[in-house]
C-alpha cells in the first residue's frame, strides 16, 4: 500500500501528484470496521435507563422541543446532497465508473460553499455557538464517556443540546469540509470554468501536489465520517435524533431521557426559536 502518488516533472524533480487511491479503500475499510466494532460493542452494552426528571421541572417542559430550526435542517440536507454529489463525482471515476464528472463536481462544490456560508451566518446570528463548542468540561466528559464504554468509569453527565460526540463529529466534518473547499477552489483555477481565468502555473508543481493531497485526504476523511454518521443515524436508539433532523423537534420524553434540562433550557427557548 502506498500513501501518495509521485511523478517526475519536466525539470526532473520528483513531485507529489495526489494521494494514493489505496487511501480511499483504507477510509472505506476504516468506516466499515468502525461500524462492525460498534455493533459488537453495542451488543454487549445496554444503555442504562435514564433517570427521571423532577416532576416540577418536567411539568414546565413543552411536549415538543425544537432541536433543529428550519435553517439548520435546510443546511444539513443541502450540504448532504452537495457532499453526496461530490463524493460520487470524485470517486466513481476512480472506481472505474467513467462519466463527464468535472463540471458536476465543481458546481456541487460551489453549492457546498454556499451552504457552508449560509450555515456560518445562520449559526453566528441565530444559534448559540456555545451549544456546539467543546470546552475543557466537554473534553472531560468525552474522556469519561470513553472510559465508561470500556467499563472503567461511571456514565458521564447528560449533555446539553448536543452530546459531546456529536460536537466532535461536527468539528471533524467542518475541518474536512474546509479542507476540500479551500483546496477545491484552488483546483478550479486549473480547469476551464466561468469563474476563474485558467492558470495552471499559479502555484509551483510541488505546492499543487500538496493542494491535491490535502483535497484527497479531506475527501477520504469525509468518506469514513459519513459512513459512521449514516450508521448512527439508522441505529434504532438514535432514531429520535435522526427524526429531529427531518421534523425539527424531539418529544418531551426523549428530551428528558437524553438531555440535562439544566444544560439545555427549553421552556422559553422552545418558544423563541
Amino acid at each position: 500500500m502506498s500513501f501518495f502518488q509521485w511523478a517526475q516533472n519536466p525539470w526532473g524533480q520528483e513531485i507529489l501528484v495526489r494521494i494514493s487511491w489505496d487511501l480511499f479503500w483504507l477510509a472505506l475499510a476504516g468506516g466499515v470496521l468502525f461500524v462492525i466494532g460498534h455493533l459488537v460493542w453495542r451488543s454487549k452494552h445496554k444503555e442504562a435507563p435514564a433517570a427521571e426528571a423532577p416532576p416540577e421541572k418536567a411539568a414546565a417542559i413543552p411536549e415538543r422541543i425544537v432541536r433543529h430550526t428550519f435553517g439548520s435542517r435546510f443546511f444539513h440536507w443541502s450540504m448532504s446532497a452537495a457532499v453526496f454529489v461530490l463524493l460520487v463525482t470524485g470517486f466513481f471515476p476512480v472506481l472505474g465508473i467513467q462519466f463527464d464528472w468535472i463540471t458536476i463536481h465543481w458546481v456541487a462544490g460551489l453549492v457546498l460553499i454556499g451552504t457552508v456560508v449560509f450555515h456560518i451566518i445562520h449559526a453566528s446570528f441565530w444559534l448559540r455557538l456555545r451549544d456546539i463548542w467543546i470546552g475543557a468540561a466537554g473534553w472531560k466528559e468525552f474522556r469519561q464517556g470513553l472510559a465508561n464504554s470500556l467499563g472503567s468509569a461511571p456514565p458521564p453527565p447528560k449533555p446539553g443540546k448536543y452530546p459531546v460526540e456529536q460536537r466532535l463529529f461536527h468539528h471533524m466534518v467542518s475541518l474536512a469540509s474546509f479542507g476540500v473547499i479551500l483546496t477545491g477552489l484552488l483546483m478550479m483555477v486549473r480547469v476551464s470554468n466561468p469563474l476563474f481565468t485558467r492558470n495552471p502555473y499559479l502555484l509551483q508543481d510541488s505546492t499543487w501536489g500538496w493542494v491535491y493531497v490535502l483535497h484527497g485526504l479531506s475527501s477520504v476523511g469525509l468518506v469514513t465520517m459519513i459512513i459512521a454518521h449514516v450508521y448512527f443515524a439508522i441505529l434504532p436508539e438514535k432514531r429520535w435524533m435522526t427524526m429531529s433532523m427531518i421534523a425539527g423537534w424531539i418529544t418531551k420524553k426523549d428530551y428528558l431521557a437524553h438531555h440535562d434540562p439544566d444544560r439545555w433550557v427549553v421552556t422559553e427557548e422552545a418558544k423563541n426559536r
Binding site: 511523478a7 501528484v17 467513467q98 495552471p200 508543481d205
Partner: protein, 331 residues
C-alpha cells in the same frame, strides 16, 4: 521525461494463433497486458520506456483478424488488416472510396504496409508533452502542459477539450464514422458491437483513454453496412508536409443526392478534438438543400461554432471551415 534507452524493457511475449487464445490472454493479464498489432504506436512507447507492459500479446498470428470479407449487405474488415490492403482493396475502392482514400494518406507506404486499421483507430494521441513522458493528466498526473500560456499547442484541440487538450490523430476514424461503420469488440462479457462514433471518448469521460476499449477488450473487426455504398465521398487531410505526418485537420464526408438535392449526408472532422467530431448540425442544415457555394459557405460557418482555440492553434478554425466547405462542394 522520455529517455532514449538501448533496449526495450523486458516483457513476457505471447503469440496466440487464434482469436480465442488472444482473448483468454487478454482476460488473464488485463491491465498489465498490451495488445500488439502493427507495432507502430506500441514500439515508440516501449522504446521510450513510458509504457512498460509486463505482458505483450502479439496478434500478428491471428488469421481471423485479417482480411476484407463480405458481411450482409456490406463488408467486414479484420482489425489487423493493413492500411495498404485497405487502400488497395477493389471492393473498398469501388464502394467505400472515402476509406481507401483516408487509408492511403496515412504516414508513408512502409508504415501503411505494417500498420493495421485497428491500430490506426485505437492509437493514442500524439501530444508531445504526453508522448514525452511528462506527468500530465492523461499520464495520470494533475496538469495539462499543453494548455498553459507558454505551451506549444499548435496541433491541439479547438473542440471538446476538458483539462486535456490532445486530439485524436486517426485518418481512418472520420471516414468510418462517415460510412456509419460498426466496431466489433470482444471483452470479458463477450462480443459487443458499437457505432464507430461511440468508440471514441473525450477526457471528460476518461482522461487516460481515447477509446472505450477496456484493459481486457480487443477490437476485432469493423463492419461497414451497405447503406452508404457508392455514395459521393470526399476525404481531405491537411498536414504540415505531404508525407509522413499527422493531420492538422482532416475531413470525411458521405453524401446521397437526389438530383441536385442532398438527400442524406454525414460529415466528420478529426484532429480538432479528442475524438472525431461528427457535424450533426451541419448535416441537418444540408439535408434537402442543393450543394451550392452559398450552402457550403453557411455550412462552414456552422461547423466552427463553439470552437475555442488555444494560444497557437486559432488557424485551425478557418482551416476546418474551409475543409467543410470544400467537402460539400466536392461531394
Amino acid at each position: 521525461m522520455a529517455v532514449i534507452h538501448d533496449t526495450i524493457e523486458a516483457f513476457e511475449l505471447f503469440q496466440p494463433a487464434s482469436l480465442e487464445d488472444a482473448l483468454v490472454l487478454r482476460r488473464r493479464y488485463g491491465k498489465v497486458s498490451w495488445a500488439y498489432a502493427g507495432g507502430l504506436d506500441s514500439l515508440d512507447w516501449f522504446k521510450d520506456r513510458i509504457k512498460r507492459p509486463e505482458v505483450v500479446i502479439d496478434l500478428g498470428g491471428v488469421a481471423e483478424l485479417k482480411g476484407v470479407r463480405e458481411s450482409g449487405d456490406g463488408i467486414e474488415i479484420g482489425a489487423l488488416t493493413t492500411l495498404t490492403e485497405i487502400a488497395s482493396s477493389d471492393e473498398i475502392r469501388s464502394k467505400y472510396s472515402v476509406l481507401s482514400e483516408a487509408a492511403s494518406q496515412v504516414a508513408t507506404p512502409q508504415i501503411r504496409n505494417q500498420s493495421s486499421i485497428g491500430g490506426n483507430l485505437s492509437q493514442d494521441t500524439r501530444c508531445w508533452y504526453y508522448r514525452g513522458g511528462w506527468p500530465c493528466y492523461r499520464a495520470g498526473g494533475n496538469i495539462c502542459y499543453a494548455d498553459t500560456p507558454t505551451s506549444v499547442n499548435r496541433e491541439h484541440a479547438i473542440f471538446e477539450a476538458k483539462r486535456c487538450v490532445a486530439v485524436n490523430p486517426s485518418d481512418t476514424a472520420p471516414a468510418l464514422i462517415a460510412l456509419d461503420a460498426k466496431f466489433v469488440i470482444h471483452g470479458p462479457s463477450g462480443e459487443r458491437v458499437v457505432d464507430a462514433e461511440d468508440y471514441f471518448i473525450t477526457p471528460a469521460t476518461d482522461i487516460q483513454r481515447m477509446t472505450i476499449l477496456g484493459p481486457s477488450d480487443l477490437l476485432t473487426a469493423i463492419r461497414i453496412p451497405g447503406t452508404w455504398a457508392g455514395a459521393r465521398f470526399h476525404f481531405e487531410k491537411v498536414r504540415d508536409r505531404q508525407a509522413w505526418d499527422f493531420a492538422l485537420v482532416n475531413v470525411a464526408s458521405a453524401m446521397k443526392l437526389s438530383g441536385d438535392t442532398i438527400e442524406d449526408v454525414r460529415i466528420v472532422v478529426n484532429a480538432v478534438g479528442p475524438r472525431p467530431l461528427r457535424l450533426r448540425d451541419v448535416e441537418r442544415q444540408l439535408k434537402g438543400q442543393t450543394a451550392t457555394a452559398d450552402v457550403a459557405e453557411a455550412a462552414g460557418e456552422l461547423a466552427i461554432l463553439g470552437a475555442r482555440p488555444l494560444q497557437h492553434n486559432a488557424y485551425k478554425i478557418p482551416l476546418m471551415r474551409n475543409l467543410v466547405r470544400r467537402a460539400i462542394r466536392a461531394s
